[in-house]
């Protein structure tokens, strides 16, 4: 049902946990199933230098969070903001049709964290 990449990220999630003093925080809730995802980022020179996530959700949601965190780490805010749901699902080797929405959660939460940072630091475009 889940691709090997999804299972690998679910079994060994990267960057899971809380971050003290994040520069930006993005939180999304999934009305469909009551799930929740939060991204914390640390930014230096307009680049994501550290990232953490918290996820209350399914296997796909956890794998998505992990994968998004990996994809975003080291990227400039602009680059990271361009990560789409489709990108995430693709690098994960695909997601079951009814689980595609979980990949939305990840990209959305990251986008909010970036927006939060920009709002706080006055760099919103």
């Amino acid at each position: 049902m889940y691709s090997p990449v999804v299972m690998e990220h679910f079994n060994n999630p990267r960057n899971a946990g809380v971050m003290e003093d994040p520069d930006g925080v993005g939180e999304v809730g999934n009305p469909a199933c009551g799930d929740m995802m939060t991204f914390f980022i640390k930014v230096k020179d307009d680049r994501i230098v550290d990232i953490k996530f918290q996820t209350f959700g399914c296997v796909a949601a956890i794998a998505v969070s992990s994968m998004v965190s990996e994809m975003a780490k080291g990227k400039t805010l602009d680059e990271a903001a361009r990560i789409t749901n489709k990108d995430v699902a693709e690098v994960l080797g695909g997601l079951p049709k009814n689980k595609l929405h979980c990949s939305n959660l990840g990209a959305d939460a990251l986008a909010r964290a970036i927006a939060d940072y920009r709002r706080k630091h006055g760099t919103a475009h």
Binding site: A32, T55, A61, N98
Partner: protein
């Protein structure tokens, strides 16, 4: 890796004695019970013997048993078939809000395609239907009430004799889905006072692809699978002879073993529950604490999502089920967990254990070893859990 399998309600191996009985009916004894001649295996009589075996498990008469392809089909035949055969009485059915989808959706079908009104009766926080509430829901147009013996999701056993009595008094047909209960607790149609009762083959250690419906003698039913004169015209299609032989044998074994099996499952289950509640904080034991199936334990672990939990456990050889919304194809939280008043977030943490005779103390140990760290791990990065802790919930 050793396996601790606790999802027997979803699937269980066919018992070897059952499979052995079935095998000749795929090969030498392949005849069609509708054939005029006898190929030497007395296939018509074999079919009737299976009916007798299933009837014996229920205290019913052989001619009161119809074989179907599943519990779902039997539920459909009961709800739709009995309701449509009694249209003259009216167009109102009542089902509990925690019935299996096959009952809930059959009632909705009657609403959509036959101008019925369907009432979905609420339950209390233990999942119980109140007979008084049922009485109040009856109207002169009520044709049929369907309330399960026990829930496969929260294990709660309903007070069927009381509920059926309310209906009998009012002259309303009463159907009960006994799929989850059969083989775990005694079932006698006279003592229960029901007009229709559903069984499923696989739930009894029989094969998939077979179920049965008990219907009180002479009760009219509109067939749902129209066809020839099989099952006395009540259900068309060539009879699944090997499957029916398997169900017959499974029913026979179930009747014999019931007295020993119930207590065994209950004691195992009690140790499971005790151990889990002790080892994991912030867990809700769902369903009724006492009036429940002996082989059934169900929980909600706060701050954790069930599909993820099931996957983590399965990696360790521990298999259980969940009613989490994420684990359902439609991404809807189980209506049963909603109906007993759990918030969607709490319901997400559902984990269901269904036990069988094959489960052992070693299986329990596997749960005690692997469940607490799995829950802790998922909680460690759960925003819901962290908020709860920050708000001063019990410490992990």
């Amino acid at each position: 890796m050793s396996i601790a399998y606790f999802d027997h309600a979803a699937a269980t191996p066919v018992r070897p004695e059952v499979l052995e009985e079935m095998l000749p009916y795929f090969r030498e004894r392949f005849g069609n019970p509708s054939a005029v001649y006898d190929l030497g295996s007395g296939i018509k009589e074999v079919l009737e013997e299976q009916r007798a075996k299933v009837a014996r498990l229920l205290g019913a008469r052989p001619q009161e048993i119809i074989f179907t392809s599943s519990g779902a089909e039997a539920n459909n035949l009961a709800v739709k078939g009995a309701a449509l055969a009694h249209l003259k009485k009216g167009r109102h059915v009542i089902v509990s809000g925690i019935e299996h989808h096959s009952v809930l959706n059959a009632a909705r079908y009657l609403e959509k395609f036959h101008d019925f009104e369907a009432t979905f009766l609420p339950v209390d926080r233990f999942g119980q239907v109140d007979p008084e509430r049922l009485r109040q829901a009856l109207t002169p147009a009520t044709v049929l009430v369907s309330i399960q013996v026990a829930s496969n999701e929260i294990g709660t056993i309903q007070n069927i004799p009381a509920l059926a009595a309310v209906c009998r008094e009012a002259g309303v047909l009463f159907h009960t889905d006994a799929v989850a209960a059969a083989g775990q607790i005694p079932l006698n149609v006279e003592e229960l006072g029901v007009d229709l009762l559903t069984l499923s083959g696989p739930a009894l250690g029989g094969p998939k692809g077979v179920g049965a419906l008990y219907f009180r003698k002479r009760l009219r039913l509109v067939p749902q699978i129209h066809g020839g004169i099989q099952e006395d015209g009540r259900r068309g299609g060539t009879e699944n002879v090997p499957g029916i032989v398997g169900l017959g044998k499974a029913a026979e074994l179930a009747a014999t073993e019931l007295a020993d099996k119930g207590p065994y499952l209950a004691s195992l289950r009690d140790r499971l529950v005790e151990g889990v509640l002790k080892a994991v904080p912030e867990v809700i034991y769902t369903g009724h604490p006492k009036r429940r199936l002996p082989g059934h334990a169900s929980f909600c672990f706060e701050g954790v999502e069930g599909e993820a939990l099931v996957f983590l456990l399965s990696r360790q050889g521990v298999y259980a089920n969940t009613g989490s919304a994420c684990a359902s194809k439609a991404l809807k939280v189980s209506p049963v967990l909603c109906a007993i008043g759990l918030s969607p977030a709490v319901a997400q943490g559902s984990l269901v254990f269904t036990l069988e005779r094959s489960n052992t103390a070693a299986d329990l140990e596997a749960v005690f070893t692997h469940l607490p760290p799995a829950v802790a791990r998922l909680r460690s990065f759960s925003p819901v859990w962290h908020k709860k802790m920050a708000a001063g919930g019990a410490g992990p």
